[in-house]
Subunit: 245 residues, 2 copies
């Protein structure tokens, strides 16, 4: 299967647009730190996990039964989920990967998101814990989809562009060289500029009496500090496992 | 508790804005009629229900455990869901209602939504059944929230404005009189105009290469033919059960 760079870029931009909407939706609720603390879920009988952790686990347990994690870019945040009850058809992807979990960076996604959340939603408590963690799960799924899509498809397309060079870097286990080889600074700057423009455009049509507005820098910084680096981590993982012949 | 009409109107507008976003998200996938046909879910072992029906049932089974249906305007599409595992705090609402299920119009919401879906998403099949029904559930929850919020809070606030008149209409079981008494044609026209303006504004900042655009009439018609009438049905149900003293 051919992997057109134009198609990949367009899909990535679509995933980023969706992600921006989801993050701005989460920002309508307060930080609600208690929802992330163990033992405060108000579940009966009591659970040691936080409300956030319970919501993420329950939702992934549901989603895996519907076959979500058969899609390459949909990677779960939990190990050991039940087997799918549904095997949806997956088209030939053009990827060369035996175990999709090789590129799974959801551990870092979760940690970075939770650390960044107070910048997005503040440190108040509005009592809306249930809605907050419901939106968190939606945001984490959109983040994982965007990051793993990039890791897999951009990784494969870069390999195909110069397979001899990448094979040599992988054989030499040259992490710094791989990182340099996959970095396109001008593309990253274009992504960041597009994020800023999109946040500004979306919020320009919001009613500020109904919606809390977010400083575009908050989202641009998260793309720069987390989304782009984790995508590149995933790309390198992909390249390391990819058969060279 | 005082129920300020301004607060209610502003909350309704917020719920409508959210709903519009969710419907436009669903429109990014095709109609996928097979996802709504019994026995085509690809579940193993086979299920007689459709993929859509399974997704809705599984999601509500999850959500009820987190206490979603303790919130007055969150009404479920299924009877007989498990008991909540979490009892979130609910502030005093100002509503006077013993059994929230009295105002539940989810049966009509589901039927009207599914009948209207081909106008929103067309009649093609893009293979994305899983994403389609996931978005359907989000749309149905946003619809139920908007409609039942209006039924409950607008119903109560109208009763308080003229309780003598409403008590008499209820005592006489005068459905036509009740319908006339709760109808504000100029408010309905303002809602429809706001929906049109919002759809146009949101789509004016969408990239038409990434997003399928929807004719604003499609959403305006759905508000006129379904959302507003079902809200009024719910208001009348609320008024019939409300103690008059």
């Amino acid at each position: 299967m051919t992997l057109s760079l134009d198609t990949i870029a367009s899909n990535l931009a679509g995933l980023e647009e969706t992600l921006i909407y989801k993050l701005l939706d989460r920002a309508q609720f307060a930080g609600n730190a208690g929802a992330y603390r163990p033992g405060q879920s108000r579940f009966q009988p009591p659970e040691t996990a936080s409300l956030f952790e319970l919501r993420l686990l329950y939702q992934e347990t549901l989603d895996t039964q519907f076959g979500r994690y058969r899609i390459p870019e949909e990677r779960p945040f939990h190990l050991g989920l039940p087997a799918p009850r549904r095997i949806p058809p997956v088209a030939d992807t053009g990827l060369v990967i035996r175990d999709l979990e090789t590129v799974n960076v959801t551990g870092q996604i979760r940690q970075s998101y939770l650390e960044w959340l107070p910048q997005l939603s503040g440190v108040e408590d509005d009592g809306q814990w249930g809605s907050s963690v419901e939106h968190d799960v939606i945001c984490l799924q959109a983040l994982a989809r965007r990051i793993h899509y990039g890791a897999l498809y951009v990784g494969e397309s870069k390999f195909r562009e110069d397979s001899v060079r990448f094979a040599a870097l992988v054989a030499a286990q040259d992490d710094a060289g791989l990182s340099e080889a996959i970095t396109r600074a001008e593309v990253e700057e274009r992504v960041l500029a597009r994020v800023r423009a999109k946040v500004e455009a979306v919020q320009s049509v919001s009613d500020p009496e109904l919606r809390r507005l977010v400083n575009p820098d908050t989202l641009v910084d998260f793309f720069r500090s987390t989304i782009i680096p984790l995508t590149k981590d995933g790309e390198i993982r992909y390249l390391y496992q990819r058969p060279q012949a």
